[in-house]
Amino acid sequence: MSNDRKRRPVLVQMETPNLIPERDLGKKPVLEAHDLGIDFGGLTAVDDFNIAMGRTEISGLIGPNGAGKTTIFNLLTNVYKPTRGTVLLDGYDTSGKSVVEVNKMGIARTFQNIRLFNKMTVEENVLVGLGNSMSTNLLTDVLRLPRHWKQEAEFHDRALDLLGIFDMQGLATTQAGNLPYGAQRRLEIIRALATNPKVLLLDEPAAGMNPNETDELMENIHKIRDDFHIAILLIEHDMSLVMGVCEVIGVLDYGKIIAKGTPEEIQSDPRVIEAYLGKQEVK
């Protein structure tokens, strides 16, 4: 069930060094980066990063620790300002936009070290994510006019529905900080989904999960992609998840992509093996 080979997508090589699933061909890539790079003082953390994601593509970004994967997420969401290169969302350039604006444009992310609103309940965390879909103004809410109640009820249902992805409705009134680790990670994903993104960036979603939970996560990622029609890019160290769910994988080492391809190609690529394991001794 987890290593389902039946739905292996057919990948098409594009003009740029990017691969895209065949079903997404013909539509504009939802997320693109061209020659993206960033220097911190004298250190080049990321260089020459290119990506073009199909609208419903699930991709993975792997590489040794410190390779720059989270830095790329920060670049894609404008937490960092790139030193060179551009990021395009749906063809629109995101340069100069704030993190908040980029989220409104359609990118949502989770964090490597979980960043929940710990003092708020699970449901409230999701409601914050849903905030930009709400339309009442301050006066309506403060004076508790009928529109306020309608909206609260509607979004209460929407929040619970989202929590249903991971069967977490029962935890709606629990304080987020009190959740077990795995549940916290899942809540972060739900909160990100609540912002109605076109692309979802997941930073190590399987960290701290056991093999069962990882399998469930794999299913859920597929379901999320199928039901929400979004693209998903994940950073992960858990190879079973990566190989099982990703259609395209990029391997990052010292800030540069050293290999890009299908899971099979990546697994047998000597450069990848070298990056992870070091140069093999010649016996």
Partner: protein, 305 residues
């Protein structure tokens, strides 16, 4: 002054200008000494020690007690003031701040406010709200250089501040304890793991900062001859502004900040707008914080995302 000749008028202006410069340096030096204490404590435990200004107040009262009430020598007053301030600073840390090492920053900030209140109101209770006159430490008041007279106190203040800054810098850069201080201020956890006794280092930081405050108290008393329970508030706040202006956590920054604030105050006074003195100092702070939030010599702290 139309009856004066041009040369005389120029001379008067020059003397006035130089006097004001000296005043600015003197006031700035006192602020610098106090600001150093603020900046060191903030650098190591990220606390804005509101009680710092009140430590100076206690130092001034000690001087008053030793010289006025006990009639002992000024030298003894200086020694006891500095020692007293040092001891008080370390005591406050041990009693009020050390239990809150792991607490949220706000709690310890409010505790500092509580300590400040305690010192102010306690002094008022013990000594009364009226100003106590601190007698002269020395009979030297002015000395002549090239036909102009300079205030001895002013020159002494500046000299002491320069020496103190140099000594402090040596301490922080060259000694083992100084290295420990820098390590703890960068990363308390890592320093602990490297075998550094964090609590001792912090106490030492408080000691040094408070000693500087004690010196500041002596110099202040020399200049203004007054001890009141509330003298620490404005002095402390402005020195605090100086520390932030110069970049909190930076030793040269504190000195620069102190001088800037001192000069600004003297300049405003000299123009005749002394009622707006305090406002100008704070306005300066606001401008600096807007333009360069970390202060003149401060380094920005980035949060890892």
């Amino acid at each position: 002054m139309s009856f004066l000749s041009d040369t005389t008028r120029r001379e008067v202006f020059a003397v006035t200008f130089l006097t004001q410069v000296l005043n600015g340096l003197q006031l700035g030096s006192i602020y610098a000494l106090v600001a150093l204490g603020y900046t060191m404590v903030y650098g190591i435990i990220l606390l804005l020690n509101f009680a710092h200004g009140d430590i100076i107040m206690v130092g001034a009262y000690i001087s008053w007690i030793v010289m006025s009430r006990l009639g002992l020598s000024p030298v003894l007053a200086v020694i006891l003031s500095v020692l007293g301030c040092t001891a008080l600073g370390v005591l406050i840390d041990k009693v009020a701040y050390a239990p809150l090492r792991e607490a949220p920053r706000l709690s310890i900030l409010i505790t500092a406010i509580g300590v400040s209140y305690f010192l102010e109101n306690g002094s008022q209770l013990v000594f009364g709200a009226d100003a106590k006159v601190v007698p002269n430490f020395t009979d030297l008041t002015t000395f002549q250089v090239g036909g102009m007279s300079f205030s001895f106190t002013a020159v002494l203040t500046i000299a002491v501040t320069v020496v103190s800054t140099i000594v402090l810098n040596l301490l922080v850069q060259k000694t083992k304890l100084g290295k420990a201080m820098r390590a703890v201020s960068e990363d308390m956890g890592a320093a602990r793991l490297m075998g550094i006794n964090v609590n001792t280092t912090i106490s030492f930081t408080f000691a040094v900062g408070s000693a500087l405050a004690g010196i500041g108290a002596v110099l202040y008393s020399m200049a203004y001859h007054q001890a009141t329970p509330t003298m620490g508030i404005m002095l402390g706040t402005k020195a605090f502004v100086a520390a932030v202006l110069g970049g909190i956590g930076s030793i040269p920054g504190a000195v620069i900040g102190g001088l800037v604030v001192g000069f600004a105050e003297v300049a405003v006074s000299a123009i005749g707008l002394s009622v707006w003195q305090d406002a100008v100092v704070f306005l300066l702070l606001i401008i600096v914080l807007i333009v360069k939030p970390t202060g003149i010599l401060g380094h920005p702290m980035t949060e890892k995302v």
